[in-house]
Symmetry: C2
Subunit: 392 residues, 2 copies
């Protein structure tokens, strides 16, 4: 028999795993040994899917709603999402401009496939969400550098964007509220950033998957400032539907036909039970529960910010949204990955090292805390962190 | 305000919609006018998700199983799939080699991302499933030509594959049972095709999403002949779970780490409720029901083959699997798309024109019939087709 070979595409060598995965594997081993592990590394809220959404899912199953839907999503769900933009943000959208996708992951894939030829650059803030640059590998695009200044709390500015937008850049992708910093861009900032994209004849993609989780100041959408922006959103975070894998995008009408063709071919359709469940995501009962949960997150956030201040650990930027705080640990370690590994080993506390969020900003200086466990556990986490730092 | 531009990547101009979509839109209009439309164009079985699978889904919701799972799928589901290969085909697989994906669509995307650099060729049979060549656009690969001979019933042979395998080809992708022909490759044929890939130092991808739906002869997997083959499978067709969007792939161990990294980044994870539901797909109760359904499909198939013979319409190849028959209508029309459009208009019968399955073989000569409605409706369909042909 001829020898079998296993050649791979070049991108396989460039797509990195999440660094936190190695820590998670070790956390699993420690838990299997009976250790109590505090998980503040997970980007998943600790709340279950809201009950009205669960009820809608059960009713859909009882009705046998398990067949394919249109590729762009159920018309009723696209209308409900459009209604949400109107009700919450005063932004009127045609449902035609909304495509329901398999998670925000599916939305990001469609938008990069829409915009990016091989070799094209897409500006990605550094630090930023780690999957974005790997998605660019899928379409053979290039992650163009948009290094953010630590002195500005890793907040992206129009000047940063203008300076970084080289001739081969076709789009910039930003997130507000942001991961890992929790920064929230203002309407004015978003407007200025959109203007830079217009000047350069390129596209602005805004990841709004933490929309709704704004704890101070105004919750908004870039669409109010820049109707042409490409928006990624999700039922995962604010709406508490992570495992259902359902998201959406909003695009200008000019892009809708191409997006529909690609959605047909690449996904066939998003999950049918998930879509029927999500129809209840905008019910008043659901929204009331979600606001209650947001207040819980905000209380955790305030507690943690106070505790970090007492520990003498500087917080980057102004974490007003999502459920993340990005912490500068350069005063206590010169290697945040090793710091996280030892913290897990010695205290059973799991945090995410900065290396997962980029390279340009000295990732060994930072780590991310996700306040996705309850107050009692957070207090324990702070105690463990304090003990760990005192022992060093 | 600066003018807004909407530039798109070049692939947008090359990714085609399904031609049948135009017919479907028209069918919807006719239905809205109260016309009775017979749908034999849909690649979705008319059976609901089996009851044990629905029960498993309901129980999972009651347990609150709605959070992220591992990117490669629930360990229990990967073990169940491995057990299925052993039980059904006598093929022993490590569950490590199985990655659960968002539909077979997700599996195909991962495999092409794994194998294809920009410009690389992947041999795709023509006729064949239309999404495959669009997926190659996503990763900037090239659909290399593998035209199948009408005289051979559009059945792929090792000689075809060897002749078509040029220097820039990295992989070939075949389907058995096949869409649109229903052809089923024998173990010996699969073994010979795998040998060609080995000789060329490339990869063989086999789409087995219609596995289980084999109505004559042996149901099998290429993995019995070629353990190194890359296999795509799905819970959609045989297992009746289309709208749940859940599939899987089997890959050699050498590829598993890269596939895991990509699944983490591109999907985060497959749908959690769908995975819990699918755990019941291999239950004896489910399998008994699925075999009952297969017998129903086979009865429809035999009826249709007889009716087409009486109508004098030649059938391409030997439709022993899936739920498709590919029909040569060149004796009655020189444009199968126009034929389908008029058939819909005059008789309310929706079929899929050959143009959706490729270009090399004279797509205007063929159309696909999907026997995805019950016997009574099939009899009506044949009556309408006969009347339509007599009137011409």
């Amino acid at each position: 028999m001829t020898d079998v070979k296993f050649p791979q595409a070049d991108r396989c060598g460039r797509i990195e795993p999440f660094h936190v995965m190695a820590l998670l594997a070790r956390a699993g081993e420690l838990e299997a040994q009976g250790q109590d592990i505090l998980h503040l590394e997970v980007g998943e809220p600790d709340f279950p899917t809201p009950e009205p959404v669960m009820e809608a899912a059960r009713r859909a199953l009882d009705r046998g709603e398990t067949r394919y839907t249109p590729a762009e999503g159920l018309p009723a769900l696209r209308e409900a999402i459009a209604g949400w933009y109107d009700q919450r943000f005063g932004v009127r959208l045609s449902p035609e401009r909304i495509v329901v996708t398999p998670g925000a992951s599916g939305a990001l894939q469609l938008l990069l496939a829409l915009l990016v030829n091989p070799g094209d650059g897409v500006l990605l803030p550094d630090p930023g969400y780690p999957c974005n640059r790997q998605f660019l590998e899928l379409v053979n695009g290039r992650a163009a550098k948009l290094p953010l200044a630590a002195s500005g709390g890793f907040r992206v500015t129009a000047a940063d964007l203008r300076a970084a937008w080289g001739p081969d850049v076709v789009a910039a992708m930003l997130a507000s509220p942001d991961n890992p910093t929790g920064n929230v861009l203002s309407s004015a900032e978003l407007g200025e950033l959109a203007q830079v994209a217009r000047e350069r004849g390129g596209s602005l993609i805004v990841d709004e998957i933490y929309q709704g989780l704004v704890h101070e100041g105004e919750d908004h959408t870039v669409l109010a400032e820049a109707p042409e922006a490409l928006v990624i959103n999700s039922f995962s975070k604010f709406f508490g539907m992570t495992g259902w894998r359902l998201g959406w995008l909003v695009a200008p009408e000019a892009h809708v036909p191409a997006l529909h063709r690609m959605a047909q071919n690449f996904f066939i359709a998003p999950s049918t039970p998930a879509q029927h469940a999500a129809l209840a995501a905008f019910d008043p009962r659901t929204l009331e529960e979600l606001e209650r949960r947001r207040l819980v997150l905000d209380e955790r956030r305030r507690y943690l910010l106070g505790a970090l201040r007492e520990l003498g650990l500087p917080v980057m930027g102004n974490p007003r949204g999502a459920f993340y705080i990005y912490v500068d640990v350069s005063g206590v370690t010169d290697d945040s990955f090793a710091f996280c590994a030892r913290l897990l080993e010695q205290e059973g506390l799991a945090l995410t090292p900065g290396a997962d969020f980029g390279a340009a900003h000295g990732p060994h200086r930072y780590l991310r805390i996700a306040y996705t466990c309850d107050r009692q556990r957070l207090v324990q986490a702070v105690e463990r962190l304090q003990r760990f730092m005192e022992r060093r």
